[in-house]
Amino acid sequence: MEGMPVIKERNLHPQFYRRVKMLPGGEKIEACIQCGTCSGSCPSSHTMDYTPRKLIAMIRAGMEEEVLKSKAIWMCASCYSCKARCPRGIAITDLMYTLKNIAMASGCGHKLAGPVFYGTFNRMVEKEGRINEGKFIVTFTLKTDPFKIIGMAPLGMKMLAKRRLPLKATAIKNKEEFRKILARIREAGI
C-alpha cells in the first residue's frame, strides 16, 4: 500500500476545465452536485474506471491527462439516460462525446478499442460515404484482435445464411466532393 494518492496542484490544468466548458456538453458542469444519478442510470458505468460523476469532478479539478486517458469515456453507449435524468440539466452524453473528441484529436488512448473502432468506422464513411456492416466488422477486428475473427465466424455464417450480410459493396456516387467536404471540416478542428 503506497498510501493516499496526492495530486500536486501544479500538475492540474484549470484551462482544461475552461476548455471543456466551452464545448458541447460542457456548459453546465459547474452546476453538478455530484449526486451520481448519471452513473446510477448508466448501463455501462459498472465497467468504467471512473464513473461519469467522477469524470465531471476530475474535469473541474483540471485532471486533464487522467480524464483523456480514461477508459470510461469509450464505454459510453450513447443511450442518453444520464442526460434525461440529470437533476442539473447537464448534457452528459454530449460531454462524453466532447471528451472523446479531445482524446482522439490529441491521440490519447489511441490503442484502446474505442478510438480504433470509431476511427475505422469514420475512415470507411469518408471513403465510401456509407457503411457495409460486414466489411466494417472484419476490418475492425483485424485491426484489434485478428484471432477473434474465428469466434465471430458462426454468427457471420448465420447472418449470411439469413441473407443479412450484403456482399455487394455499398457506396455513394458523389464521393469526390463528399471526401473534400469531410476533409475540410476535419481540418477546422474541434
Partner: protein, 651 residues
C-alpha cells in the same frame, strides 16, 4: 421649480465605499440645480446619519431629500421617518440604490461611480416633482380568517383565539389535522405525532373563539386590510353535525365498506362512503363522500347507514351553502402536497408493489395504520433489506429545483423506525445530508450508530433483477456503481405546492414564487407577510418546512395579525392609483387588469373608479390606461420621466 434639496451619500461602511467613490458623488451633486447641500457619510441609517439630515432640513430649509444608499426596500421607511421628524412629509424623499445596483454588482470603480452619479442625478430630478402624500389609517375588524387546518393553521388559530379574538378556521377536508395527523413519530425527539397534535386539535374544537368550518373552501375575497369580506363555500357533509356522535355505526353499515381507498391511509387502507377520516378526527363526525356514495351518485342504495344511525344524523337533503364572513386579517396555511413519483418510472413507483412513498411509510409504521404499525411488505412478510431514497422530485430540474428540507431528517427517522421494528438492513441513498436543526445532527448521529448504511449517491433507478427489487446508484464516496438488492424501497418524495395553489393565489391576491409556493413579502425580514397587506402565510404553503418551523411560522403569522387587531387600525400605503374623470373616456381597458379588484366602473358617469383602500399602487392600470386618465401617485409619468432623463443625461 425651485426646491432646496439635500443629497446624502452613504458609504454603508465598505459595502458601497469600497467600490463607489462616495465623495465624488456628493461633489457632483453639489453642482446640480436645486441641490443646496450634498454630503457623504459612513452610515446614513445610523442615528448620527439621520440627525445630520434633520439638522440640514432645519438649517438649510430643505424641502426635498435624496439618499443614495442601499435598496429602498431596506431603509425607505427609516428615512421617511427621519423627514417626518424634521417636519417634512416623508414622501418628499427619493432614494438612489447605489449598493445593490452599483457597488455589489461591479468591480470597476470608475464605472460603478459613474453609474451611482447617474442614479443619484435621476433621484434629484425626480424628487423635485414629488408631492407630499399622507398615509391612511383604516379601522380593523377584530376577526381573523385562518385557511387550512393543518398544524400551521391550528397553531395560528389557537394563538389568536387565546389572545381573546375571534377566528374562523376553514378546512377543505372533513377533519383538521393536516399531514401531521398522518405521521407516526416526529424527529428529532420521536414523540408520536398524534400525541402532540391531537391535544391542539381538541383545543381548536373547544375554544369558544374559534369557529371551525370543515368541508369548506374560500371562494371569494373582497375588500382590503382590516376589512376583508370573505365568502366560504360550505359543502354538504350529509351528516347533521349536532346529532352525530362519531360512533362509526354508519361507517360499518355502509354498502361500500372497505371498498374505497382511504386518503388518510394514502391508498394503503380502505374506507366506506360514509366515514370518519381517522380515529382522532376533529370534529369527530362522519361525512359522506359524494363521489363514492351510491345513493348520492346513482340514487340507488338501501341506505343502510340511515338505518344504522340511532341519532338519525344522516341527512341527504343537506345542500351546499355560502357563508359570508367579515375579517380584518387572513392567514393562509394551506399546506402542501406530496410529489407523485410515478411520473419518473425509473423509481418504479406504481410498477413494483414494494416501492412506496415516505408518507405511505408513515402510515405503515403508525400503530393506527393499515398494518397496525408493523413494517411489512405487500405479501405480509417482514423486509430484510430496505432502501430509502432521498430527493425524489426535489433538487431536480426535471421536477422541482428546490430542496424539500424535511426529507433528510424524515429519511433518517424512517431508518430508525425500520431498525426499531425489524432486523432489516437499511440503506439510505442521499446526495447531501442536511440535518441542520436543533438536535438534528445528534439524531443523525444516533441513527448512524444504529448501523444504517448511508450511501452518498442518489438512487438513480429501482428495478427488478431476477425477481428482486434492486436499487442502482453510484456510491460517490467510493466512486463505484452499486446494485443493491432490497425488499422495500421508500421514496422520500418532494413537498410540492398544492395543486390548487394558483387558484388560491388568485382568490387571495397573493403572488407565487417560481416554485409555485406562495411568495412572502421579504424572504428574510418578513417571511410571514405577503404583498397583499393583511394576508399572512404560515407553514408549507410558503415553502417546505418541518414541524418546528411550521409551528414557529404559525405563531409568527398570528402575531402579525394580532398586531393590527390589538391596535384596531392599520396604516396603508398612500401610493395608489386614481382616475381623472375629466379624461377617462370609459373604454374599460383597465378593468381586467387590476390584480386586487380595486377598479370598478361607474355606469352613470361612464368612468372607471378606483377604490384607493384596495389599490396596492402597483401601477398596472396606469400603464394600461390608453388615455392617460389614470395616475399612480408617487409614480407619475412626469416623475418617472424626470428620473429617466436625469439618469440618461451625460455629465
Amino acid at each position: 421649480m425651485a426646491e432646496n434639496i439635500g443629497v446624502y451619500v452613504c458609504h454603508c461602511g465598505s459595502n458601497i465605499a469600497a467600490v463607489v467613490d462616495c465623495e465624488k458623488i456628493a461633489q457632483a451633486a453639489s453642482e446640480w440645480d436645486n441641490v443646496v447641500i450634498a454630503r457623504d457619510y459612513k452610515y446614513m441609517c445610523s442615528d448620527p446619519g439621520q440627525n445630520l439630515i434633520k439638522k440640514d432640513i432645519e438649517e438649510y430649509g430643505l424641502t426635498r431629500v435624496v439618499v443614495a444608499s442601499c435598496s429602498p426596500r431596506m431603509h425607505e421607511p427609516t428615512f421617511r421617518k427621519t423627514l417626518e421628524e424634521a417636519g417634512l412629509n416623508g414622501y418628499l424623499l427619493e432614494m438612489a440604490n447605489i449598493r445593490e445596483h452599483c457597488s455589489w454588482v461591479s468591480k470597476d470603480k470608475e464605472a460603478a461611480t459613474e453609474k451611482a452619479i447617474a442614479l443619484t442625478r435621476g433621484a434629484v430630478r425626480r424628487v423635485v416633482l414629488h408631492q407630499p402624500i399622507k398615509e391612511r389609517e383604516v379601522p380593523v375588524n377584530k376577526a381573523t380568517l385562518v385557511v387550512g387546518g393543518g398544524i400551521a393553521g391550528i397553531q395560528a388559530a389557537l394563538q389568536i383565539a387565546n389572545a381573546g379574538y375571534p377566528v374562523y378556521l376553514v378546512e377543505k377536508k372533513p377533519s383538521i389535522g393536516g399531514h401531521m395527523a398522518q405521521f407516526d413519530k416526529t424527529f428529532p425527539t420521536l414523540d408520536c405525532a398524534a400525541c402532540i397534535l391531537t391535544p391542539k386539535m381538541v383545543d381548536v374544537d373547544r375554544n369558544q373563539n374559534i369557529k371551525l368550518f370543515t368541508c369548506s373552501e374560500v371562494v371569494e375575497v373582497d375588500g382590503y386590510v382590516g376589512n376583508f369580506k370573505v365568502k366560504v363555500r360550505k359543502k354538504p357533509r350529509y351528516v347533521d353535525e349536532e346529532a352525530c356522535t362519531g360512533c362509526g355505526d354508519c361507517e360499518s353499515a355502509c354498502v361500500m365498506k372497505n371498498r374505497i381507498p382511504s386518503e388518510f391511509e394514502v391508498g394503503l387502507g380502505k374506507r366506506s362512503a360514509v366515514y370518519i377520516p381517522f380515529p382522532q378526527a376533529v370534529p369527530l363526525k362522519a361525512a359522506v363522500d359524494e363521489e363514492n356514495c351510491l345513493y348520492l351518485k346513482k340514487g340507488k342504495c338501501k341506505q343502510s347507514c340511515v338505518d344504522a344511525c340511532q341519532r338519525e344524523a344522516i341527512d341527504f337533503e343537506q345542500r351546499e351553502e355560502i357563508v359570508e364572513l367579515e375579517v380584518g386579517a387572513i392567514i393562509l396555511a394551506t399546506g402542501f402536497e406530496i410529489f407523485d413519483p410515478s411520473v419518473g418510472p425509473q423509481w418504479g413507483y406504481g410498477i413494483y408493489d414494494n416501492v412506496i412513498t415516505g408518507l405511505q411509510f408513515e402510515r405503515i409504521t403508525n400503530a393506527s395504520g393499515p398494518t397496525g404499525g408493523k413494517v411489512l411488505l405487500k405479501d405480509g412478510s417482514e423486509p430484510k433489506k430496505v432502501a430509502i431514497l432521498h430527493c425524489i422530485g426535489s433538487r431536480d430540474e426535471n421536477y422541482n429545483k428546490y430542496c424539500s428540507r424535511v426529507c433528510c431528517m424524515s429519511s433518517v427517522k424512517f431508518a430508525h423506525l425500520v431498525k426499531e421494528k425489524t432486523d432489516a438492513e437499511v440503506y439510505e441513498f442521499y446526495i447531501d445530508m442536511r440535518t441542520f436543526g436543533k438536535q438534528y445532527e445528534e439524531f443523525y448521529n444516533r441513527v448512524q450508530e444504529e448501523g444504517v448504511h448511508f450511501i452518498r449517491g442518489k438512487g438513480a433507478e429501482v428495478t427488478e433483477i431476477g425477481g428482486e427489487l434492486t436499487v442502482r446508484a453510484e456510491d460517490s464516496l467510493l466512486g463505484v456503481y452499486r446494485e443493491i438488492p432490497v425488499d422495500l424501497v421508500i421514496l422520500n418524495t418532494a413537498l410540492v405546492p398544492c395543486s390548487d395553489s394558483e387558484k388560491v393565489s388568485q382568490i387571495f391576491g397573493v403572488s407565487r414564487a417560481e416554485s409555485g409556493f406562495f411568495l412572502e413579502s421579504h424572504i428574510k425580514l418578513d417571511p410571514i407577510s405577503t404583498t397583499n397587506q393583511g394576508i399572512y402565510l404560515a407553514g408549507c404553503c410558503q415553502s417546505p418546512k418541518d414541524i418546528p418551523d411550521t409551528v414557529a411560522q404559525g405563531s409568527a403569522a398570528a402575531a402579525g395579525a394580532l398586531a393590527a387587531i390589538a391596535t384596531g387600525k392599520v396604516t396603508t400605503s398612500p401610493i395608489s392609483a386614481s382616475v381623472n374623470e375629466d379624461i377617462c373616456s370609459g373604454c374599460k381597458t383597465c378593468l381586467n387588469m387590476c390584480a386586487y379588484k380595486a377598479i370598478t366602473f361607474d355606469e352613470n358617469k361612464k368612468v372607471a373608479e378606483i377604490n384607493e383602500a384596495v389599490c396596492k399602487g402597483c401601477g398596472t392600470c396606469a400603464a394600461t390606461c390608453p388615455s392617460g386618465a389614470i395616475t399612480n401617485s408617487h409614480f407619475t409619468t412626469e416623475q418617472i420621466f424626470a428620473q429617466i432623463e436625469g439618469v440618461c443625461e451625460n455629465g
